[in-house]
Symmetry: C2
Subunit: 336 residues, 2 copies
DNA sequence: TTCTTTCATGTTAGCGCTAACATTAGTCGA
DNA sequence: TCGACTAATGTTAGCGCTAACATGAAAGAA
């Protein structure tokens, strides 16, 4: 034996080296190599050193695919989000990764693009990789998807909402109450003509219901609801379609900022405090950006990363409380 | 004692059903079931129907872990990004997923958090899952990481930059030239005191070099460089640390908008066109938000999703051009 | 008819690893 | 002194699936 690099059968020559090749080189059985990788304390120091040297010599990288099949543990978690680009769900993915990766779990990421059929497909695709848990934003859109998850017999965490009949665990907040809180605030501010802009996904719709119900309960006319296409920063033009409105709840901050941009063009934005705004605007999400624009954006603050970290925890512990309400906070700044 | 396994037609009783259980129920051999799953055309229609019924009855979900071990194909791609939250890399992940998921590939996501040691660990973790390719933002920070990838013998795509000696394939743009373009523009506008704000990651640094070199070549004093912590929207306070500066290039739009927010507080922001701005600001990334604020943000536009889709393509095709420059575009609006 | 081809299905032998159970020395208390 | 234990390592038998080859029946081709 000579140098550490590029030996026959080593380096970038042929196929990746296997456990038993390392074992042969170190003069031990393969199970010993396996132990060095997974439970080094069980191996005598000298043997361990020999094996570690052999692994280095060969550039051995354990094959977790084989390990997973043999041990029935994949050390992976499936994550399903509607979309990751330009969305607050990225915070949730970040949060759960930060918790899971140091523990040796890998994140398998899939996107549904708010499409029920694709969601079902991605769910099946995820399950076929035998993850040890699934974390998803919201709940399955179809009964099929729901059954798939129920039958999977692994922890399932639904996030960003508090479904009445969760499959297993939940980490989210009450979207209905968020809508109520915004309406309450706007009513207290003396606003009369409310409107809601946002998508028609389940969570947005729940916000709308809370918003509408509270407005009606306060004796106001039923608010208008403008359903925007995702990625429709056409929220810029939304104002034109909402004549007479003096307060708007946008289902997310991006829409809120887009709407404010439309207001600015119409000369309906002041640099002063909320009371000076002809049209109050409240967002949801508390993007950092909201504090940087003028007027600063009032919003429902939600901790996307905390949702992710909590979901990760629920994934790891089977016992304990399985329904965690992380709440939200109405953060009042200058826009409304 | 007796059969502890899933009763025919029963719900989720025991362990997940296997290929051979489906085969038994359909009265065929397991390879036939395997064919129904993977190459249905090779199976006679009646047999296929019988097998499909059995799969439905048992709620069979193929085990891709076992399949991957047997076929030496995992149908997965490892993706390494510095961070996914609140970043334009999410666009890239979205782009590559959109291309890869319909083809049956899963995305295994890992984050380095701009930490070289963590990057190496995540690279090893990814490789141990035997992905069929790796797509990463930037290049490995260490020689170890680089060697790991070189020895992996799978397509490696480095993105968001155009490294001189790529490991394999590249999909990105020239960060140096982006800095040059911004400096050129500011000089042409008659700006004299330039400054650069941003992080000190490799790509940001390359932008800085281009910016600095071009400014010097134009006879200006060497620009100031302010290195900000990530997530430091302290860019708001950056202006105080840059007295006398009349033009700023921010390494990303978020910093640019934060900086503008600081300018606003200092009364140095006008609603008029670039020529009216006491301090010009140019960002990079072209976040949608940049068009919504006032003044609208001038920026270097980069197509993060196109980078992702291109990287996915490079992953699938081994032949052809392996170095794709997706370029950038200086988009001039009102901020500078 | 007899040979060849095609189609549909089956048999066999692993993929690279680990669980579960040996096995072999060495240690130790009474 | 001896069984009882511990520490270190090994043996065996798969995990659930697929590649590669084998088989048998039906349908032409000659």
């Amino acid at each position: 034996m000579s140098s550490e690099l590029t030996e026959p059968g080593t380096g970038p020559t042929g196929a990746a080296p296997t456990l038993s090749e390392v074992a042969k080189r170190a003069g031990v059985s393969s199970i010993t190599v396996s132990r060095v990788v997974r439970m080094p304390d069980l191996v005598a120091p000298e043997t361990r050193a020999r094996v570690e040297q052999a692994m280095r010599d060969l550039g051995y990288i354990p094959n977790l695919v084989a390990g997973a099949l043999a041990s029935a543990r994949t050390n992976s978690v499936g994550v399903l989000v509607p979309t990751i680009a330009n969305s607050i769900f990225a915070d949730t993915v970040q949060g759960l990764s930060d918790k899971l990766e140091p523990l040796g779990f890998s994140v398998i990421l899939a996107q549904s693009r708010y499409d029920a059929a694709r969601e079902d497909r991605m769910l099946a695709a995820l399950l076929s990789r035998r993850p040890e848990a699934i974390i998803m934003v919201g709940s399955p859109a179809t009964e099929d998807g729901s059954r798939l998850l129920r039958n999977a017999r692994i922890p399932i965490v639904e996030t960003w909402d508090l479904p009445a009949n969760p499959i297993d665990a939940v980490a989210g907040f009450d979207n209905y109450k968020a809508g109520v809180a915004v309406a309450k605030h706007l009513v207290a501010q003396g606003r009369k003509q409310l409107a809601f802009i946002g998508g028609d996904d389940p969570r947005g719709t729940r916000r709308w219901f809370g918003f509408r119900d509270e407005a009606s309960a306060s004796g106001l006319a039923e608010p208008r609801r403008l359903i925007l296409d995702r990625k429709d920063s056409g929220s810029v033009a939304a104002h034109a379609r909402l004549p007479g409105v003096d307060a708007v709840f946008a289902a997310n901050d991006a829409h809120a900022i887009g709407f404010m941009s439309g207001l600015r063009k119409a000369g309906l934005l002041r640099d002063g405090p909320a009371s000076a705004q002809p049209v109050a605007v409240i967002g949801l999400g508390d993007l950092e950006m909201g504090q940087l624009i003028s007027p600063t954006l009032s919003t429902i603050s939600v901790h996307g990363d905390a949702i992710g970290r909590t979901a990760a925890t629920l994934t790891l512990e089977r016992g304990g409380e399985r329904r965690i309400d992380l709440g939200f906070e109405l953060v009042l700044r200058d826009s409304g």
